[in-house]
Amino acid sequence: MLDIRYFAWLRERLGTERETVQTTAETVLDLVAELRGRGDAYAVVFADLAAIRVAVDQELGGLDTPISDAHEVAFFPPMTGG
């Protein structure tokens, strides 16, 4: 089981901040492909991957980051701190 977290406008568009999924995805990109199939809201949120950042177990990653041993994957827009 994998925990998925969403932040900022992704959280708002999907109407959820956290969910647990059963997945065999090996990379972030595999996971995105699975999530896109979950419904229209997911297809919209994951339409433009250049607009999305990802963290795997709280470390910034990329689409090719392996997730086979991960506990948590978080998706969010480019960060705007400071």
């Binding site: 932040f7 963290a55 978080a74």
Partner: protein, 150 residues
């Protein structure tokens, strides 16, 4: 504490004095504070700041430690707020201490550049028209690239 993530407002003078008081051997202290500014065209009612508890602490500690190593800092502090803020309120501050001013200044700029786009915070402006997520700027990425060149 060298990394503080809090909802409450803070007294920047007090934070800076406490930072400076515990230093030993520093010849230079630099601080920077970010303030919520009004939007030019409409009334800003609030600025909401979301973050990723857990990852935020890890990211800020890593950024802080990188700055200390890279600029030979004696100490460095990052304070960042989350929650609902209004115009004029301080959002965050950084402080650096070094033997010499150049390292203290450069270290503070480095901390700010990384906080802008490598720490999991997201800002949302609330106006009478509703909410609008602040978009990341290309210039913030350009500022980061500067540190990886030579």
């Amino acid at each position: 504490m060298t990394v503080l993530i809090q909802e409450n407002s803070f007294d920047m003078g007090r934070v800076l004095n406490e930072f400076a008081d515990r230093l030993s051997g520093a010849g230079a202290v630099v601080s920077f504070s970010g303030i919520v500014r009004d939007i030019a065209t409409e009334d800003l009612r609030a600025m909401e700041i979301e973050h990723f508890p857990g990852m935020t602490e890890r990211a800020l500690l890593a950024i802080r430690d990188d700055a200390v190593a890279r600029f030979f800092l004696i100490d460095a502090l990052i304070l960042h707020r989350f929650g609902t803020l209004t115009a004029g309120e301080a959002i965050m501050m950084v402080a650096t201490a070094a033997l010499h001013r150049t390292d203290a200044f450069d270290g503070a700029v480095y901390l700010m550049d990384y906080l802008k786009s490598r720490a999991p915070f997201w800002k949302k402006e609330i106006t009478e028209r509703g909410g609008r997520w602040v978009e990341a700027q290309e210039r913030d990425e350009a500022a980061l690239r500067r540190w990886s060149q030579g």
